[in-house]
């Protein structure tokens, strides 16, 4: 017995290990099966579904925001709205930016993204001339999204465009006024190679601005800090940045129409759209129409100035508008 016991212990231990390994494998496969069935076949509605849900069963709509606060809130607004309407929605952890969002919808990892149409134009058709008219832009990017199996729905009146931001005391109201002021420009690395940004500002045929100096600054609150401290005189930011009104900055008017129209618009995977029928498109279009630029600014104030969670801000707004 004394001799046997270590041997039996060894055997039983390896049995336990084997069982554990199989268990893990099984659960891992099970997990995969679950998600794949969810993604491809209709499933039963989640338990959180409100009783008044009228929609038909369909695939899970996976929505993921780009990884900056405004986009995160937008994704929460669309996701929570659809969930409240009774759709099977999964709001994924925000990750990546436009490139990753478009890739995600192209390869089937995502079913709904919300993007700014002008930015999408640059990403999908880099050589296309930019336009201040949203209709022109959607007429170009709509077919591009179709090529990757996605459908561009109606754009929202809410705009978050590029903004040429200066301190409030600068003697200029349009970007053209800035030409002779020898300003120091702060902008993100991306701006310096884009025709609608730095290249357009300095192009003698467009604005022809001669900047005194340029500083590359990580896109975000640091732009505002640099502008406030006087280290730079102008920054290229987004028009809904809450710091603009808070710190007394002003946005110079794009008098030559260089900046593209940047309305937000949802893009849905066509297979999901077909599975739910016209109701899904109608619901999303109704939501897009309800969002305004002022709402975007208000959300950004909540998330970036008051440091509140995006999902709470989204719930609050949807409730206040009676959308959920």
């Amino acid at each position: 017995m004394l001799r046997m016991s270590p041997a039996t212990r060894g055997v039983s231990r390896s049995l336990v290990a084997l069982v554990a390994v199989f268990g893990l494998l099984a659960s891992a496969c099970g997990g995969d099966d679950d998600t794949s069935t969810k993604a491809t076949e209709p499933t039963t509605a989640p338990t959180t579904e409100p009783p008044n849900a009228p929609v038909a069963d369909g695939p899970t709509i996976r929505v993921r925001g780009q990884d900056f606060s405004e986009a995160v809130t937008i994704a929460e607004v669309y996701g929570q709205y659809l969930a409240a309407k009774g759709y099977d929605v999964e709001i994924l952890t925000p990750a990546g930016f436009r490139t990753e969002a478009i890739e995600g919808i192209a390869n089937g990892d995502l079913d709904l993204i919300i993007d700014y149409i002008g930015g999408a134009l640059t990403a999908l058709v880099p050589d296309a001339a930019s336009s201040g008219d949203p209709e022109v832009i959607v007429s170009i990017i709509g077919p591009e999204y179709e090529k990757i199996g996605a459908t561009l729905l109606d754009y929202s009146p809410a705009v978050d465009g590029d903004a040429f931001v200066v301190r409030g005391d600068l003697d200029a109201t349009t970007i053209s006024d800035a030409a002779g002021l020898d300003l120091v420009l702060g902008a993100s690395a991306a701006c310096f190679e884009r025709p609608q940004c730095f290249l357009g500002y300095t192009d003698p045929d467009i604005y022809g601005i001669k900047f005194g100096d340029t500083v590359t600054i990580e896109y975000g609150p640091l732009l505002g800090e640099a502008l406030a401290s006087g280290d730079v005189d102008a920054v290229i930011w987004n028009s809904t940045a809450p710091q603009i009104s808070k710190d007394g900055f002003k946005v110079l008017e794009d008098d030559l129409g260089l900046h593209p129209a940047q309305n937000i618009a949802p893009i849905v995977s066509t297979s999901v759209l077909d599975a739910y029928g016209a109701q899904l498109a109608a619901d999303l279009n109704a939501l897009s129409a309800a969002i305004t630029t002022a709402d975007l600014v208000a959300w950004n104030v909540e998330t970036d100035v008051n440091f509140r969670e995006s999902n709470e801000v989204a719930t609050e707004w949807l409730t206040s508008k009676g959308l959920i």
């Binding site: 991306a190 310096f192 300095t202 990580e218 640091l222 406030a228």
Partner: protein
């Protein structure tokens, strides 16, 4: 630092690294390289000036031995980018600009610990018989430190400075993400502009500089040792 000309996105890696047009000029690789080298050299010089006297002095007096343990633990945990990132807004608000203070302080925190540790340990571990002999011969305490302990410690301290320098050179590129320039700007611009070859080229430049620095210190370590110590070191396997 004139208006930045964007590097074209379709540029080849080879073309970027070996095209003379990207090396010269107020905005070229050479200018970025000199930005980086000047900052790194200053940081290492200041770190050495702080850490060697402090470490050697305390070790000679056999004080603050706990500091070594603490610094070994803590220096691993210092988030350099977070520190620099926190300092930038403070520096801006005080009117000191983007550079050089935030990145300088952050890099100093990278450089001081290894130099302090090696200085402390090397002086403390200097051969006890030799040190006793020096005292017995009637050397003043100051000379025991300067002529015996520090001489014996030179190679180890230089190894510490070497480690610190390579780390500083490899960390300095974060400066480009905080409103500065230097070699890291190619990594930053490559990331921001979706330009993989520029990103890779920048990474190669940074890694090459770090490797080169390490090699250079290998030579310094050979040349700078006192003759007696050099014999000692070489005799050991």
């Amino acid at each position: 630092m004139l208006a930045q000309a964007a590097v074209p996105r379709d540029i080849g890696l080879f073309e970027f690294l070996f095209g003379s047009k990207y090396w010269t000029g107020a905005d070229g690789i050479l200018a970025s390289l000199s930005d980086t080298v000047v900052l790194c050299a200053t940081v290492v010089a200041v770190a050495t000036a702080i850490a060697v006297p402090l470490g050697a002095g305390l070790a000679h007096l056999r004080r603050g031995e706990l500091s070594v343990t603490w610094i070994v633990t803590l220096s691993r945990a210092v988030p350099t980018f977070a520190i620099a990132g926190l300092l930038v807004p403070i520096s801006l608000r005080r009117g000191w600009g983007f550079e050089p203070w935030p990145i300088f302080i952050a890099l100093l925190l990278v450089a001081v610990p290894p130099i302090y540790l090696t200085s402390y340990t090397a002086v403390k571990e200097a051969d006890a018989n030799t040190v006793d002999a020096a005292r017995a011969m009637g050397l003043a305490e100051r000379n025991v430190l300067f002529r015996v302990e520090l001489s014996l410690a030179t190679s180890v301290i230089l190894a510490g400075v070497r480690v610190a320098t390579v780390q500083v050179v490899a960390t300095e590129p974060i400066r480009a993400f905080l409103g500065g320039d230097g070699l890291g700007r190619y990594v930053r611009d490559g990331l921001g502009q979706n330009n993989d070859n520029l990103l890779l080229g920048g990474a190669i430049l940074v890694a090459s500089l770090a490797a080169l620095t390490g090699g250079l210190f290998g030579i310094i370590q050979r040349v700078a040792l006192p003759v007696g110590v050099r014999r000692l070191v070489h005799r050991q396997p």
